[in-house]
């Protein structure tokens, strides 16, 4: 902070809603919390250091994707198929007793130059192994979907904390002043388990919350009401501008009133820009085909459209896009929670996930966007290497699971961290969600310890009081 006193006062008057000097100094002492001008909450703000990634797409598999059936190849699990898990023969986990070790339900094959073993459930993603850094030793402290999703997306098991996207939005603002800076794209089959908490602003100002919309669910109230013509709507806006200007002459220097005027202006711009950004009809056939948007499978086509939408948004400078694959708890029918009939259900879900996500990565790459866009692939936890007793599925496993990173600043074709020989527990280079978050922040040029916000007695952080940047995956 190098403002002199005079600049400071001028800044206070015109800019942010005037903070008492002491409070401001305290802020300074506390770290590098961004200063928000309420009239322009999405103004681009500086990073803490040079970033590798300018924006993030987070693909989140709700319901807990089985790592042992997708990305974490365990030959010993195949060899010992049908035997009890050594040392944990009577293991009782979330839903109850477990049965015997069960080999992956899909065949693993070497993929890419790096010959990474990836299963036939996700062959399209597997084919891009050279772009990906697999993190095999994620852990979660909760073994329950809702709280665990919260941990992965907000750092805390409880509801009410700001999501990673909200933190990023708060820290960096946006490169596009005509679109929401943070968009959450729901799965066409429904909301993820912990719903809007995944993109909540928590105690951060509401301006930083994710705006939910998707190819099947547009922004609420975006368009003028039916029966109101464009001319009528514009006349209404014009009259409102007169009133607002009049009010501002009574209350000059009021940053909040100025901010209200600009929020109406942004809303008006969004009425034009959002439909343009969300207009997938202009995408050529070969692109739609790349993502699988031409599929006869309705859910696959809809998810593929969501992936195209994600690309169109980051292309336009949206800072953070969450892309959900899988909905809420449903006995595994519409998300990855395969307790009872994993093979049958995952065959359905895999088809929806695989090609669209791979298409997204390929498309980002061919447009050069992958150079400064980070793609994060995550889920709330993994699944057991055993079948549950009395079912054909796997129980929750927060002790070890896989996430991956691709794109900006990421060393592709690599793997970091391991689980034990069965995929039961993270054994080497164990990664907490806080480490995961710290690493994502790092790629964005943010120091997770410096980005704070005071709430109820604590300078809060996304990473609580934990988190270490994982260096190995970084290019």
């Amino acid at each position: 902070m190098s403002l002199n006193r005079r600049q400071f006062l001028t800044h206070t008057m015109h800019g942010f809603s005037g903070v008492a000097l002491a409070a401001m100094l305290a802020e300074e002492a506390r770290g590098e919390s961004p200063k928000i001008d309420p009239a322009k909450p999405y103004t681009p703000r500086p990073t803490h250091f040079a970033p590798k990634a300018k924006r993030v797409i987070e693909v989140f598999c709700s319901g807990a994707l089985s790592h042992v059936d997708t990305f974490d190849y365990k030959p010993e699990l195949i060899r010992r198929h049908g035997q009890p898990l050594p040392g944990n023969e009577k293991l009782v986990s979330f839903q109850g007793p477990n049965g015997n070790l069960t080999q992956p339900l899909w065949t693993f094959r070497p993929r890419g130059q790096c010959e990474k073993m990836v299963s036939d459930l996700v062959p399209h993603i597997g084919a891009l192994a050279d772009e990906i850094c697999f993190l095999h030793s994620l852990t979660n402290k909760s073994n329950t979907h809702g709280p665990a999703e919260n941990v992965m997306n907000t750092g805390f098991a409880f509801d009410g904390f700001p999501s990673m996207g909200a933190w990023v939005n708060y820290a960096l603002g946006s490169e596009n002043q005509n679109l929401p800076a943070f968009v959450a794209i729901e799965d066409p089959r429904g909301m993820p388990q912990s719903g809007p908490n995944n993109w909540a602003n928590g105690f951060l100002p509401a301006a930083f919350q994710g705006t939910p919309f998707s190819s099947t669910k547009p922004i609420r109230f975006l368009q003028r009401p039916k029966g109101i013509s464009a001319a009528k709507d514009e006349a209404t806006h014009a009259a409102l501008r007169v009133l607002e200007k009049e009010n501002l002459t009574d209350f000059p220097y009021d940053a909040n009133l100025a901010a209200r005027i600009s929020s109406y202006e942004l809303a008006a711009r969004m009425q034009l820009t959002v439909p343009e950004a969300a207009n997938l009809k202009v995408e050529p056939a070969h692109i739609r085909k790349l993502y699988g948007a031409d599929s006869a499978n309705k859910n696959k086509a809809a998810f593929a459209n969501n992936c195209i939408l994600a690309r169109r948004l980051v292309e336009r400078g949206v800072r953070f896009v969450q892309l959900f694959n899988g909905a809420y708890a449903s006995g595994g029918n519409i998300n990855w929670d395969g307790h009872s009939r994993l093979k049958e259900q995952y065959d359905v879900h895999g088809e929806i996930l695989d090609q669209p996500v791979a298409g997204l990565l390929r498309d980002l790459k061919q447009r050069g966007l992958l150079e400064d866009t980070l793609v994060v692939f995550a889920t709330e936890f993994g699944r057991m290497p055993m079948f549950q007793a009395g079912t054909y599925g796997r129980d929750h496993n927060p002790n070890g699971f896989t996430a991956w990173l691709a794109g900006a600043g990421v060393k592709g074709g690599t793997s970091h961290g391991t689980t034990d020989e069965f995929g039961f527990r993270a054994s080497e280079n164990v990664i907490t969600p806080h480490d995961f978050h710290a690493t994502i922040f790092h790629l964005l040029g943010l120091d997770h310890e410096k980005l704070t916000y005071y709430h109820n007695g604590i300078q809060r952080r996304l990473t609580d009081v934990h988190g270490q940047v994982i260096r190995e995956p970084l290019a």
């Binding site: 006193r5 409880f158 975006l222 209404t236 000059p252 809303a267 009872s340 109820n456």
Partner: protein
């Protein structure tokens, strides 16, 4: 900047030099001398202003002041008639204003407005939160209790005591306070010991947060895993506090009162009815020579028989759902159970259900009926099903026992396979009287030797018994409310790093040592613990209780508290801008018998409150946020006030008070798939505090205006400005429909042309007369595009949306 910083640093050093002193909020309140004959609030505020070379603004004009105080005290707008009467009143203006304040404070609308502020603090909602987010259907009683308490000016010390110990003080509904927060349902908690202990710790943690942040303004919750990093709160203080609530349970409880007495008085009559019905059924049973109904754990005895295998054919269950048993036992003549997997017996069944947990037929012979640890067999679908157990070698059986699962068999046979391979029936239900919970219709009940009419008569008595039993249970349980209930407390342990599996030492109930000593002996009976806490909190010299409360009230009048971290008076919170005033107000509040209405009156009649809210360039330079109150700080209305005011302007506001809330969504609880309602009827046009509050679901349109979703405590709302707000108020069906009602009303009440209509519409929304430019813009819009559009504009205008 550097110089300023050094100066502040110096102050910091000076303060830390006397570090032995307790933190300001833990020091006794000091009574400063007020001199000069002015209103005491103005004395303190004026003193600080003078120090900064600032002055009070002039008094706000009458209309602005009237609109402000009406919105502030009731959350609704004054009507144009009220405005006119007020402005034209020729009596001395102080006298008129006092009268207005008293009228507003006496209005039932006042409690409705201010109750919301309290509900924000404690994140009250009517669903449990977490992933199930199930409905708490009887939680609304607490909301009504708060509104009533504020409307009747229940002294704050009593308000507080009732909420901690309403079971003793005769205010059961007040106990909704302690269990206002989210809590995981037992079914959502894992089955292992660690998960169950953690869940209990989490439940109590929510209570501690509510009490400590809500009443004490201390973040005691931070000491769950370690001593507080900033405040003098030790980890053992946390668990001492936990011990005070160790007997607390979440759930419904009896609501005592007239209704309860009435219900209780009806119980004997119902009991008699039920006994008569049962006697009648028993007579018929004897007459028809039927055997007694099946129990939920039932044994069939038979002549001993040698068996290779045994099977049970279930043709129907009592409630019609899929056949299910926890366990099936086959007892031999020497008293052992031959149907155990551990003994080599092999179970099989017609099918088993696939679910998140095992429903496999192996569960029939696992030797466990512990419903917390073991699982039942459940057939894949309803209708007939069979199960079978094959023995290692032939056994001699004389009895079987089954334990019901998710359903109870109603119609079945048991068959044994003899060594010769033949199957022989050994038990059946064809002469069994159905159970009282058997919901099958008469046509489905097959009883041997009974005529259709006889079966029909039996089924009909059974249905009447079922209904009467339900009625009796309801009356005996009394009217229910969702509120804390209490059992004998479990011991409380100090936990290593908060880990429920690492118990260090048993702790007695206690308040944090830094606050002194509440007299709670280690083995104190449950209610004594809470009463001791209430007594401690309401002692007149308590350094926090009154300070925290008067600060909350101040904040809701001025937008900012004297302390702007209203639930954190600890070191991480901010210091008061006017410490002397805070103490003076707190002491005065206690002196006035903890009366909230007297406190409101004191504040709103001050010059400080009655100032204009216009900015001054010079003052903004010194104090941009007007924390020193050189003006009344203007602010946007809260979500509830915006909706309530839109409805009141449109003429649709329904002032019905209390009871079950109206719905913003298609469902009142549940994990997902909430669809916001787009249009409302009269019930949905009640004040927003009467909306059924779903946790973690932002309300459509008004959620965007920072209406908290009760996920976390919200002692102070953010006041954000977003494009989503603009889109909602401009384009939502709710806003447009209300704008149409608004225009209809205006046409009805001022039918003499656009000019008069716009004038009235403007005064309805903004209280004051429109300025010429405003009048002209709206009039032109109305002429060209209809009055409704002018009304739509008014809903979006800052003059309407702001408290100025």
């Amino acid at each position: 900047m550097q110089r300023v910083r050094s100066f502040l640093l110096l102050c910091f050093i000076t303060t830390t030099a006397v570090a032995a002193e307790p933190h300001w909020s833990l020091q006794p309140m000091k009574c400063a001398v007020v001199s000069g004959g002015s209103h005491p609030i103005d004395f303190f505020i004026g003193k600080k202003l003078r120090e900064k070379k600032l002055t009070f603004s002039t008094e706000a004009d009458r209309i602005t002041l009237f609109r402000r105080v009406t919105l502030d005290l009731t959350g609704l707008l004054p009507s144009p008639t009220e405005v006119r009467t007020f402005v034209r009143d020729a009596r001395p203006k102080d006298e008129v204003f006092m009268e207005v304040v008293d009228r507003l404070l006496a209005s039932p609308r006042h409690g409705e407005r201010w109750a919301q502020h309290w509900l924000d603090v404690i994140r009250w909602a009517e669903t449990v939160g977490f992933e199930t987010n199930g409905e708490r259907s009887e939680a609304w009683h607490y909301r009504d209790w708060v509104i009533h308490a504020l409307n009747t000016d229940l002294p704050y010390d009593k308000f507080l005591r009732d909420q901690l110990a309403g079971d003793i003080t005769g205010a059961d509904a007040a106990l909704g306070f302690l269990v206002a927060g989210p809590a995981n349902l037992p079914g959502q908690v894992g089955r292992d010991e660690e998960a169950m202990r953690s869940a209990r710790q989490d439940e109590l943690d929510e209570v501690i947060r509510t009490v400590s942040q809500g009443l004490l303004g201390l973040t005691i919750g931070c000491a769950r895993c370690h001593d507080h990093k900033f405040d003098p709160i030790l980890q053992r203080d946390y668990y001492g506090m936990q011990a005070i609530f160790a007997g607390l349970r979440y759930g419904n409880r009896r609501l005592r009162g007239a209704k309860n007495d009435e219900w209780t008085s009806q119980v004997p009559v119902k009991q008699k009815q039920l006994a008569d019905l049962k006697a009648k059924l028993e007579r018929q049973r004897a007459q028809l020579e039927l055997r007694k109904p099946l129990d939920s754990v039932h044994s069939d005895e038979f002549t001993q028989i040698t068996a290779r295998a045994i099977r049970m054919n279930i043709r129907a269950t009592a409630n019609g759902s899929a056949a299910s048993l926890y366990e099936f036992e086959a007892w031999t003549t020497d008293g052992t159970n031959a149907a155990l997997a551990s003994g080599g017996a092999r179970a099989s069944a017609s099918s088993f259900a696939l679910a998140n947990q095992t429903r496999h037929f192996e569960n029939l012979t696992d030797g466990s009926v512990d419903r917390r640890q073991a699982f039942p067999w459940v057939a894949a679908k309803g209708g007939s099903a069979w199960l079978r157990v094959d023995f290692v070698e032939p056994v001699t059986l004389k009895r079987i026992t089954w334990h019901n699962g998710s359903s109870v068999p109603a119609d079945y046979t048991i068959e044994v396979q003899r060594p010769d391979g033949e199957w022989q029936r050994v038990a059946h239900t064809e002469d069994r009287l159905p159970r009282n919970d058997d919901t099958r219709g008469a046509s489905q009940v097959k009883l041997k030797n009974l005529s259709v009419d006889q079966t029909q008569a039996l089924v009909s008595i059974i249905a009447t018994i079922r209904k009467t039993e339900g009625e009796l249970n309801r009356l005996a349980a009394g009217p229910q409310i969702y509120a804390a209930s209490f059992t004998t407390p479990d011991p409380t342990w100090l936990l290593e790093r908060g880990d429920p599996m690492q118990r260090l030492a048993k702790l007695a109930p206690a308040i944090p040592a830094a606050l002194g000593q509440a007299e709670i002996e280690p083995g104190a009976p449950e209610p004594r613990r809470r009463l001791a806490l209430a007594k401690h909190l309401t002692q007149p010299g308590h350094p926090l209780t009154a300070r925290v409360l008067v600060n909350r009230v101040w904040q809701n009048h001025f937008g900012n508290g004297l302390v702007d971290t209203p639930s954190d008076f600890g070191k991480m919170g901010t210091a008061p801008t006017h410490p002397e005033l805070l103490d003076w107000l707190a002491l005065e509040f206690i002196r006035q018998g903890w009366s909230l209405k007297k406190l409101h009156r004191l504040i709103v009649t001050s010059r400080t409150y009655r100032q204009a809210s216009h900015p001054s360039e010079q003052a903004l330079r010194v104090d941009a946020d007007a924390r020193l109150l050189w003006r009344f700080p203007p602010r946007r209305l809260e979500a509830e006030a915006i909706r309530d005011c839109m409805l009141s302007i449109s003429g649709k506001l329904n002032l019905e008070m209390g009871g079950r809330g109206f719905d913003f969504f298609n469902q009142r609880g549940g994990l997902s798939d909430y669809v916001p309602k787009q249009t409302f009827d009269a019930n949905g046009w009640r004040r927003m505090i009467y909306a059924h509050k779903v946790r973690m679901q932002a309300v459509d349109i008004f959620g965007a205006f920072d209406c908290p979703d009760a996920g976390q405590m919200k002692p102070r709302r953010t006041r954000s400005i977003t494009p989503v707000q603009s889109l909602s108020l401009l384009n939502s069906p709710f806003a447009n429909r209300q704008a149409a009602f608004f225009s209809e009303r205006v046409r009805r009440e001022a039918d003499n042309g656009e000019a008069a209509q716009i004038n009235l519409a403007f005064r309805l929304a903004c209280a004051r007369e429109p300025k010429p430019s405003e009048q002209q813009a709206l009039e032109q819009l109305a002429m060209e595009h209809g009055l409704e559009q002018a009304c739509r504009v008014l809903f979006n205008s800052s003059t309407f949306l702001y408290l100025q």
